[in-house]
């Protein structure tokens, strides 16, 4: 009897110890170097995973499981699935699933929707399982694959609709692709099937986006960063502006001007919006949407651009905004609440000037519009300064997600490094 009492006591002790350890493990300990990132005071970061592959976008489930879309992977297993079983924030299980590679990835209504370059598919999520099931369904198809701006980000409005950006397979709709002296096609035939955002039914199988969907907004060259703002019930996107102003019009633009222009535009995308590509671009130095040189522009003339919708914010050129997130968590200070985070992938089209971007910025919001300037939130991804060639950047932020506790996750596209940014 005495022995039994001892046993019970010992067991209780062991169990309580175990619990204590588990509680301790749930306290996130940031990396001493914040995973190489520079962050505002009070923030810190830890590296969740070092190398999951060619990361694009990222999602975090309610249980903390992480999903990263990959641009390429063996056997097209383009969904990296990460789980932390110890509670220290580090992924200790990394598995690969799926039969597709691509960019768009969203957990929605028990499915993992995935945007390949030519179609949107969905995989069923399975209770308690890290990996989604294999039996994928085709939702939307027919997207053009013409070697430029093929990434298909996806977003939902919570009312049964899915939004897919169809990037224009073109720089400025020139007759001959990216060739000096070639005029812009007028009207630009690409706008019939690309250069905009299409809306489709999120549950209808096997839709052709042109036949079954509707064009929600147009005049968008390419926008990899799209997000539905639940607070105001509107879609937002950040555009990749056109390239090569100096290369095609050296008599009009210096290399320095060409590195800064045009702006990367932040759009409030209401139904029927026309943002002006390819006819117009936004000059952030003049705060004006001006006529593109391929369409007779002289750097200041506006003409048909007067009727095009302006951005709600303009960033310096070519920094390649690749993801957008509206922060709704409680972990970060009040100034970030309902504001935007934008991941800039970093430029290539500023050469021979140094490359810029390679950071995550924050934009404060009041209702539908920004309430102040943007500022760099997380920096240091490139690991070197200046970045003369894009390949000098060690990491390039490409995707953003908010965790259930309010942490901000960032994924890189070079190696698939994943950071978790926390505030304490």
């Amino acid at each position: 009897m005495k022995k039994l009492a001892y046993f019970v006591l010992l067991t209780l002790f062991a169990v309580s110890c175990g619990q204590e350890n588990a509680t301790e493990n749930h306290t996130l300990i940031p990396d001493s170097d914040n995973g190489g990132l520079t962050l505002p005071e009070g923030f810190s970061a830890l590296v969740v995973a070092d190398n999951v592959g060619r990361g694009r976008h990222i999602e975090v489930n309610e249980n903390g499981d992480i999903y990263v879309s990959l641009r390429q992977n063996d056997g097209n297993r383009g969904i990296a699935c990460l789980r932390d079983t110890s509670g220290n924030g580090k992924a200790d299980i990394i598995e690969y699933a799926g039969e597709h590679t691509g960019t768009g990835i969203k957990l929605h209504n028990g499915y993992l929707y995935f945007g390949t370059d030519s179609a949107v598919v969905r995989y069923p999520m399975q209770e308690g399982e890290l990996k989604p099931g294999n039996s994928w369904e085709l939702i939307a198809r027919g997207f053009p694959q013409e070697g430029q701006h093929e990434a298909k980000p996806i977003e939902f409005d919570g009312q049964g609709n899915m939004y897919v950006t169809v990037g224009a397979p073109s720089n400025a709709c020139m007759e001959q692709m990216r060739t000096k002296g070639s005029p812009g096609m007028d009207p630009c035939p690409i706008l019939d099937y690309a250069g905009g955002i299409w809306k489709v039914d999120e549950n209808m199988l096997n839709q052709h986006y042109l036949e079954d969907g509707e064009r929600y907004a147009t005049g968008i060259r390419h926008a990899v960063a799209t997000r539905w703002n639940k607070q105001v019930g509107e879609l937002y996107a950040v555009q990749h502006g056109r390239d090569q102003l100096h290369q095609f019009f050296p008599e009009m633009y210096t290399t320095e001007e060409s590195a800064e222009l045009p702006a990367e535009e932040f759009f409030l995308v209401t139904e029927g919006s026309d943002f002006g590509w390819p006819y117009c671009y936004y000059d952030q130095l003049q705060d004006s949407k001006v006529l593109a040189p391929e369409y007779g522009g002289d750097k200041t003339a506006r003409e048909r651009c007067e009727n095009k919708k302006d951005p709600i914010m303009a960033f310096p050129g070519h920094m390649a905004p690749n993801d957008l997130l509206f922060y709704t968590g409680d972990m970060f200070p009040e100034k970030y609440k309902n504001g935007a985070f934008i991941a800039f992938h970093g430029s290539w089209n500023r050469a021979p000037e140094p490359q810029e971007g390679f950071f995550v910025v924050s934009v404060p919001f009041d209702g539908e519009n920004p309430s102040g300037d943007w500022e760099i939130f997380a920096d240091g991804f490139a690991g070197t300064e200046p970045v003369n060639s894009t390949s000098d950047a060690e990491y390039r932020p490409c995707g953003l997600a908010q965790g259930p506790d309010g942490s901000l996750y960032v994924v890189d596209s070079n190696k698939g490094k994943v950071w978790r940014i926390i505030h304490s």
């Binding site: 097209n76 096997n206 021979p352 060639s389 894009t390």
Partner: protein
């Protein structure tokens, strides 16, 4: 209930049929592709150029036509524009290289283990000499050390003989 089952089967069949189409269309992606990113060796290597090409006439052509995408050091843009450093695409078969310059290139290619799927525009508007100069420049720069290209060689490919 039975009707629903049939519908489900129909949907499944459709999905299978479509997936088969998808596989066919994406056959290029089926090949085994490495998950390991390229090493950063290229960055180190490019600094040890043995040829002094700084005064070469091909550099001017390179800077105005090629640099925007392939970068001043030929390192390209990850996932977008392939590097010109230490790759058979540049230092190998001259005829293929001349042809790519004249006609451009589209579709998936593999360079140093990485898949690229961008479009390169044709550059047939450049003269035979300009193309010879710029190809000589890239074959001897960025730590490359291959033979030069003559304008006669360019002319031959341009004339299709």
């Amino acid at each position: 209930m039975k009707k629903m089952k049939i519908n489900k089967i129909a949907v499944l069949l459709l999905a299978v049929a479509l997936s088969a189409c998808g596989v066919k269309g994406n056959s290029g992606q089926q090949q085994s592709e490495p998950t390991e990113p390229t090493s950063r060796k290229a960055t180190v290597e490019k600094k040890s150029t043995s040829n002094d090409m700084s005064g070469h006439p091909g550099k001017k052509v390179y800077n105005s036509v090629c640099l925007a995408c392939h970068m001043a050091d030929g390192s390209g843009v990850p996932g977008m524009h392939p590097p010109l450093i230490d790759t058979d695409w540049v230092t190998g078969d001259k005829e293929r290289l001349i042809k790519i310059t004249l006609e451009g290139l589209s579709g998936k290619i593999k360079v140093k283990g990485e898949v690229y799927n961008s479009l390169m525009p044709p550059h047939s508007h450049l003269s035979d000499k300009q193309i010879a100069d710029v190809l000589t420049y890239i074959r001897k720069s960025f730590s490359n050390n291959a033979s030069g290209v003559t304008k006669e060689e360019v002319q031959k490919v341009r004339n299709g003989s």
